[in-house]
């Protein structure tokens, strides 16, 4: 089953979808497989990620992955937030993700890392 209940629920009713006014850092990137673009805004205080939101046009797997990721990293130190392993996300997603869709899971991770490193968005 590609679409676990977790994926369906997070896609239908995301908890952290949206944007932050005047975020401390944000980053966006595309999935070259499908052209999907997602953006993550972060608020940082005392080296901790105090708030974050994700948005973009993406498939259910990517949207669910982004939503779970934000939930996982809120309140964590920047270093911890930037080093969430893919395996943790996969476990939370509870789905049988094929290699062709792995990028849908990992895109939010690399976008979050980009934001935390203060990377410039390529145009």
């Amino acid at each position: 089953m590609v679409y676990s209940d977790v994926i369906r629920q997070r896609f239908r009713n995301p908890r952290y979808r949206g944007s932050l006014p005047a975020p401390d850092t944000s980053f966006e990137d595309v999935n070259p497989l499908c052209g999907d673009r997602i953006r993550i805004d972060c608020r940082i205080a005392d080296g901790r990620l105090t708030d974050a939101r994700h948005r973009g046009d993406s498939c259910a797997i990517c949207a669910a992955s982004a939503d779970l990721l934000v939930e996982l990293v809120l309140g964590k130190s920047v270093e911890e937030a930037a080093s969430v392993p893919v395996s943790t996300l996969l476990e939370r997603l509870g789905a049988d993700i094929r290699s062709t869709r792995m990028k849908c899971v990992t895109l939010p991770l690399s976008v979050l890392q980009g934001a935390l490193e203060g990377r410039e968005v390529a145009r």
């Binding site: 679409y3 896609f11 239908r12 497989l33 052209g35 999907d36 259910a60």
Partner: protein, 405 residues
């Protein structure tokens, strides 16, 4: 007998079961399946004939050369080229375009213009971007309008004395639109430009006559027309090829070599550096014979009927948007569509769970997606083996998509 009844048994892969259901393969525009005749020809070539071509003076080498060159003659007839020198074997459509691009890069001047269209596959865009950047030339695009047809008035305005090349798809891989290539070629020639047609989506479905179209280059891939991967064809008008320097070097494309220079080989080998895809040429030959036996007019009629059936069925499903000309007479064998609230990749994954294989995404046509204001589409495409019952399975599966997530 319908075409699918006649051909179905020749395609062993179509007996596969996917997620517990008989496979419905609707992704032939990405790559078609191969009939037994093609597989057996290649197998037999490797078991009985294989050696390197052209300079192996022994029985196998001579036989391999004969079958390789016989494939060229078969392709010449199939595409309607006048001379065998005009048929160059490549690694595929993309390779064919790059071969032309590398040759044109040698003569392109700063300020020259290359005219493409907004519906091009990235393969018919990136090579031109690369040589334009290299040479200080300019790339321009004919807009897509309305249901997904080219703005021919704009085409007229965009053609200029600086236009060196017009490069466009014969049939769009997303919209299915069959472009008026004969007329556009005539107009481009009047403006003094060369014309390259990307025939990747046309060659598998329409009876081709490149000489009648009048284009300077025509490129296609074998793997989309029942042949193997790894080989394609670059047709080049002889008068044009004779004037071009090869942009890629290696063995095979030379006559005589010194340390600091070389004399190029004759056409068509001048544009075929390195050991060519020989077994693949044998496979392509078998594919051409297979299609020819079916008759391209029948192939076209069969696929058009499926296309019409699919559009009629999908259009009735609420939340479905179709892209491209609604009139099946104006299009090739692809139907792109979206289902409200379902990302194309999720749609494709859910259809796959029902055994239905379709393509999803931007189809390597991001400028077109941007023009349409979407991230991607689902795309069903048809070949000689697809059946009306499969269109019904597609339609049923698409109906199940709404509310599936």
């Amino acid at each position: 007998m319908t075409l699918d009844e006649q051909t179905r048994a020749d395609f062993p892969i179509l007996r596969r079961i996917v997620h517990g259901q008989p496979l419905v393969y609707l992704d032939s525009a990405a790559s078609s399946q191969k009939p037994r005749q093609v597989l057996e020809a290649m197998q037999s070539y490797y078991e009985q004939t294989h050696a390197n071509v052209h300079r192996s003076i022994h029985t196998l080498g001579e036989e391999a050369t004969e079958v390789y060159e016989a494939a060229r003659d078969a392709v010449r007839v199939f595409i309607g080229a006048r001379f065998r020198e005009e048929v160059i074997f490549t690694r595929g459509t993309t390779d064919g375009i790059n071969i032309v691009a590398r040759a044109l890069a040698l003569i392109l001047q700063p300020g020259d213009e290359i005219l493409v269209t907004e519906m091009e596959h990235h393969s018919n865009l990136i090579p031109w971007q690369m040589i334009c950047r290299e040479r200080g030339a300019v790339i321009k695009a004919v807009p897509v309008m309305g249901e997904g047809v080219l703005d021919l008035d704009a085409f007229g305005r965009l053609l200029s004395p600086r236009t060196r090349l017009v490069a466009l798809a014969h049939v769009s891989n997303v919209l299915g639109t069959i472009n008026p290539v004969t007329d556009m070629t005539r107009r481009a020639h009047e403006a003094g430009a060369l014309v390259l047609l990307d025939g990747a989506q046309a060659a598998p479905h329409l009876a081709l006559d490149v000489a009648a179209i009048g284009c300077d280059f025509y490129v296609l891939s074998a793997h989309k027309m029942l042949g193997p991967t790894g080989i394609g064809v670059l047709y080049g008008r002889r008068e044009v090829l004779e004037r071009l320097e090869p942009g890629l070097g290696g063995s095979e494309m030379i006559k005589e070599v010194w340390i600091d220079h070389a004399q190029w080989n004759d056409l068509p080998w001048r544009f075929e550096p390195g050991t060519p895809p020989i077994a693949e040429a044998v496979g392509l030959h078998a594919a051409v014979v297979y299609l020819d036996k079916l008759g391209m007019a029948r192939v076209e009629a069969h696929e058009r009927a499926l296309c019409r059936l699919a559009m009629d069925a999908l259009e009735r499903i609420s939340g479905v948007t179709l892209y491209g000309p609604r009139n099946a007479e104006l299009r090739g064998a692809v139907v792109a569509f979206n289902v409200e609230g379902i990302h194309p990749h999720d749609g494709a994954a859910l259809l796959d769970e029902r055994g239905v294989g379709v393509r999803a995404g931007h189809h390597c046509a991001q400028p077109l997606m941007r023009r349409l204001g979407i991230v991607g589409t689902l795309r069903a495409s048809f070949s000689v083996y697809n059946t009306a019952a499969e269109i019904a399975r597609l339609s049923e599966a698409v109906q199940s998509l709404r509310g599936a997530l």
